[in-house]
């Protein structure tokens, strides 16, 4: 769909590394260029025309986000990306909320950014991290979530869609359980928000993080959405200009309202404007259409891959456009270098989910992750290349 909007596709490449980052539409880059070339100015208190335009675009992006994922505009905080958003939750909120008596539930297929901050905070506070069991397809079932919850469970922190297996977690049902049991639900939306409908309120999410660059937007910008009552208790990790009302020589000070108090210093203005264009672009196409398109492509790819003898697929059934596989007996990186010879971009590795190896017994996979601009011709090209996999070493060595 809409391949003409993405100039990089003019180079005859097949881009299947959308889980890592996505291509940028001309519309997104143009909006950032416009800021840099026509109305560069800082936000907050500018009295001249260009500053007014910039301010409206920047703050107005909160309304765009709020419409896109159904939250209040004042619940939208701009961050540098999902990693920063989750760190703000862990070190700005959980640090003051959790005690050594508590338990936090994660899964082993989480991205590093949703495990490592917890490990570091647990070191400091002494709460217990427990991993909810995954099923035989490496997916998270509602039953296993229920089984893992104890009286001590204070937080469940999980990805909506995991970045290796691509399984879609039933966040709405998990959210209902959490609400009943007074458990905070922290959701890593990096791989879901760009690809499917995420409804912050309807799903009973407490904190939701996502990144601009994985949804056709620029790098360097992301979002943390937090339930307002929780944001009132969250502390900023950064202090400085733009986030205070006053400070005096008797050390008294007052911070600005939420969400501004969480955005110290000059933010990534051009990137927020780019994010705005990216979201409006996705809304024009329709997020449900994007999901449907990716699922069609996934089925088409799995059907074809299954016909090739020596390929193992790890996540045939997951409900997202992510496929993890290996050519039997070939290291994932050799396969991805081989595919690069056909101008096909995929990713090889553990995809930052380092604990998943304990579960699937294999550390590295080749990952194909799709987006709205991929098509069946892309898949045909990948399949044709993989049919020649006996030639891998003749090509890469």
């Amino acid at each position: 769909m809409h391949r003409e909007d993405f100039p990089m596709l003019e180079n005859d490449i097949v881009y299947f590394d959308n889980g890592a980052t996505t291509l940028k539409s001309k519309r997104v880059v143009d909006s950032m260029d416009k800021y840099y070339l026509e109305h560069t100015s800082n936000i907050h208190r500018g009295d001249y025309d260009s500053a007014v335009i910039t301010n409206e675009l920047y703050d107005g992006t909160r309304d765009v986000v709020s419409h896109f994922i159904n939250c209040d505009s004042r619940e939208v905080i701009f961050t540098s990306g999902t990693t920063m958003s989750i760190n703000m939750v862990v070190f700005g909120f959980m640090k003051y909320y959790l005690t050594d008596k508590d338990e936090v539930l994660l899964t082993k297929s989480e991205h590093a950014s949703n495990i490592l901050p917890w490990i570091v905070l647990a070191e400091e506070i002494g709460f217990k991290i427990k991993y909810i069991d995954l099923d035989d397809n490496y997916e998270l079932t509602l039953d296993n979530v229920k089984k893992s919850i104890t009286d001590k469970t204070k937080v469940i922190s999980i990805a909506h869609v995991t970045n290796v297996i691509g399984d879609v977690r039933d966040i709405k049902s998990i959210g209902e359980i959490c609400k009943k049991k007074n458990i905070i639900l922290n959701v890593d939306g990096a791989q879901s928000v760009p690809h499917m409908k995420v409804d912050f309120k309807d799903m009973n999410i407490d904190f939701l993080s996502f990144s601009g660059h994985k949804m056709g937007g620029p790098t360097g910008v992301g979002v943390l959405v937090g339930r307002y009552e929780l944001l009132e208790k969250m502390k900023p990790l950064c202090y400085g200009g733009g986030m205070n009302n006053y400070f005096e020589d008797d050390n008294s000070y007052e911070l600005k309202e939420i969400p501004t108090r969480f955005e110290a210093g000059t933010p990534a203005i051009a990137e927020v404007i780019g994010l705005r264009s990216a979201i409006l672009y996705l809304e024009d196409i329709g997020i449900d259409n994007i999901h449907k398109h990716e699922m069609e492509l996934k089925k088409y790819l799995v059907d074809k891959l299954e016909k090739i003898d020596n390929i193992t697929i790890y996540n045939k059934n997951s409900n997202s456009g992510i496929i993890a596989f290996n050519v039997d007996g070939v290291f994932a990186q050799d396969t991805s270098v081989f595919l690069n010879h056909y101008k096909i971009a995929v990713r090889a590795g553990n995809h930052c989910a380092k604990e998943l190896k304990d579960v699937i017994g294999i550390k590295n996979t080749v990952r194909v992750s799709m987006y709205l601009y991929n098509n069946k011709e892309d898949i045909d090209r990948l399949v044709e290349a993989l049919k020649n996999n006996k030639e891998i070493f003749n090509v890469v060595l």
């Binding site: 990186q333 270098v337 553990n350 590295n364 003749n394 060595l397």
Partner: protein, 143 residues
């Protein structure tokens, strides 16, 4: 060198590497190479006695280039004096990084003389030399 021969040597060392498999022995120097730029993850161990490399072993998950290079590198270094090892490493790293080098001292390691044509594989080829370098550095610290 003929391309087919080069490929054959590399592939043979990838599929049947020498000196693969670690042992329990505290007299060895040990290092893990988990490179930031690629996904290879190999452990190395090396025993030095009287200034001579008595043994080097490695194990882990890695691509064809770094696995084969580890096989050839370990084979090339066993039995060499530490000074000779340092000379081989410097020349090997220069070869991979497209600087002047002496191919005479590299022997079989010359099969990687064209790896610079694939910049994204340089680190794969360098991995065993980085590992041995690190272990030699530890040796220096112990003195």
């Amino acid at each position: 060198m003929d391309n087919n021969l080069r490929r054959e040597i590399i592939l043979d060392n990838y599929q049947n590497p020498d000196n693969r498999g670690l042992i329990e022995d505290d007299s060895y120097l040990k290092v893990n190479t988990n490179s930031e730029s690629c996904i290879d993850n190999l452990d190395f161990m090396m025993k030095i006695e009287d200034g001579v490399v008595k043994d080097i072993r490695f194990d882990g998950e890695a691509c064809a280039i770094s696995t084969s290079a580890s096989s050839i590198m370990t084979r090339s270094l066993i039995g060499k004096k530490v000074e000779e090892v340092r000379e081989i490493l410097v020349n090997y790293q220069n070869m991979i990084n497209e600087k002047d080098y002496d191919s005479e001292v590299l022997g079989e390691l010359n099969v990687y003389d064209e790896i610079c044509k694939q910049p994204n594989r340089k680190n794969c080829a360098l991995l065993p030399s980085v590992a041995v370098d690190k272990m030699l550095g530890e040796l220096g610290n112990e003195k």
